[in-house]
Symmetry: C2
Subunit: 327 residues, 2 copies
């Protein structure tokens, strides 16, 4: 049994807790929190909730610590710190800062002799490794990533911070025509606006200037200015009834050409359609925890990504089962 | 530069030769054939074509030998034999015999200190590893493999052997309704007949009994009896004009459920759409040759499959490039 610790207890952590229930080779050992442990009620019976600062006391009782915390400020400090005592998994997803995060985590994990997987999930994660496989197989090609239809939490939060806004759910929607052109192997040049549209459901304060809110959303730099955005005002009741889930998904498509004259088009597509983004991401984290244990047993240390784990390492199957049933 | 040898010179081997042209880190060293080498004309200038029995003389001049031969009778002997002197890659695709082939190749490669990848391609190969990833991530689910629309060479050959038949091209076609049900996460039980249909374009001898040929095809056990099959007789001119390519493709779809009450459906799909099946398979073989070299340099020996290669090992990119651009 692989003994798992969880740091944090938000949506992602609850997804990890639930995923562990389905895995016969793993068990939840403890949950660590920066909040008052007494105020955190978890689902699994007989598992302690402890203050994060007690984590080092558990270093011999946990095989892998799964870090369910934010990429903006938490993980850059937390992952290297916990890699001193544990094998760790995080879902660091600030793409631009991955090289720096990798370096910091690699230094800590290499020195302590642990293994630390960063940027695990679906993007970064499964989408990344599909981009890598596809580019290795079709060097003469071009790849495209489409996200959605799904809820972008970062964009929803950005709207929520506007004056007069009580709540927002922002859906990222891929442009169907653009996807069709890519799937046909046209290899088009696509602008940001041509690939995705954005749709915001907004609950406004009573008496708020809705036209002003809509304008503020549509012109928000980085988040919305480069997209065709639709804003729809709804009531809090509608929000709760129709938008309580966190669905997401998307596709990575690479099309390339082969042949002496470049006469053949070859298209590789990997797609996800997820009712629950955090529960799916959690499922990937848990599979990578298994890989971490297997790789550490073979002597690997330092920082790793999903690029470094052989597919077999993520699976609980024996080699014989894989050869007979999966190959 | 990774020095590649090719055994055989059929469609797959020509695909390998062509793929090497696109890879800046690989070069073709020699082609080995069981035919008269003088009768084999290859595309690459200044590369020798040699009798297969001379291969051992090249053991120090070739990093990886890619075996482009048949699974029925050639590879079961050829792969273990060549693994005595070379790192090898094959595309052995008789699913039921993979465990026995693995054992024979592993014994030879382990003893000689080489690395031998078997069953590389898309199915077995990329489809297999997508089945493995998806089952590791969504243990509570069910997966489906659909093939086509594409030419099945085994089925085409089976029809060609019937009396009165000059030529045949057999297309395997997935049933769109079945795929839609799977994509929606219904997890249906599907019979063989419900998943795929078969379509045969047949050129018959002049005066042949077409009704008898059609009956013989539709009732052929293993190949057609369990499917809804359509037979269409065409002329040799139509065959050459409309059916000279070898397109193929398909999808691996796993849908699973997550959540404490199993309330969320999650669907993972991997699809290929290929103008040229042999050229694409060749592209996968070449990427795995790169992985073989990297893994052998780290000390690995014995028989491997795509389950054992980390995605990073297939790519020519440096770690820095992967972290910055692919993750």
């Amino acid at each position: 049994m692989i003994k798992i610790g969880i740091v944090g207890y938000g949506n992602l952590a609850r997804g990890v807790e639930c995923a562990l229930k389905h895995d016969p080779d793993m068990t939840l050992a403890a949950v660590f929190t920066r909040r008052d442990p007494g105020a955190v009620k978890i689902q699994t019976p007989n598992v302690p909730v402890l203050p994060l600062e007690d984590a080092p006391l558990w270093k011999d009782r946990i095989d892998v610590m799964i870090l369910c915390a934010g990429s903006a400020t938490d993980l850059p400090k937390m992952t290297p710190a916990l890699a001193k005592d544990f094998n760790v998994i995080d879902s660091f997803d600030t793409h631009a800062n991955i090289p720096a995060h990798f370096a910091a985590v690699d230094a800590a994990a290499s020195e302590s002799g642990h293994i630390a997987f960063i940027s695990v999930g679906w993007d970064p994660g499964l989408f990344s490794l599909n981009r890598l496989y596809a580019s290795a197989i079709l060097p003469n090609g071009k790849d495209y990533t489409f996200w959605g239809k799904g809820v972008s939490q970062g964009h929803s939060d950005a709207v929520r911070r506007l004056p007069g806004v009580i709540d927002c759910r922002q859906y990222t929607i891929p442009v169907a025509e653009a996807m069709e052109r890519v799937r046909k192997g046209e290899m088009p040049q696509l602008t940001t606006r041509e690939k995705h549209t954005r749709y915001c459901y907004v609950v406004a304060e009573e008496g708020a200037d809705k036209a002003k809110i809509e304008e503020a959303i549509k012109t928000m730099p980085n988040y919305f200015a480069d997209y065709d955005t639709t804003v729809e005002f709804i009531t809090m009741e509608q929000m709760k009834q129709d938008h309580s889930g966190l669905p997401h998904g998307g596709s990575v498509i690479r099309s390339g050409i082969t042949g002496w004259e470049g006469e053949n088009r070859q298209t590789i597509e990997f797609s996800l359609k997820l009712d629950s983004n955090p529960q799916f991401t959690a499922s990937v984290l848990v599979a990578c925890a298994r890989a971490a244990v297997k790789m550490r047993e073979r002597g690997a240390t330092g920082c790793k990504t999903m690029f470094d784990a052989a597919p077999a390492d993520l699976s609980p199957m024996s080699r014989e089962e894989m050869l007979a049933h999966m190959l």
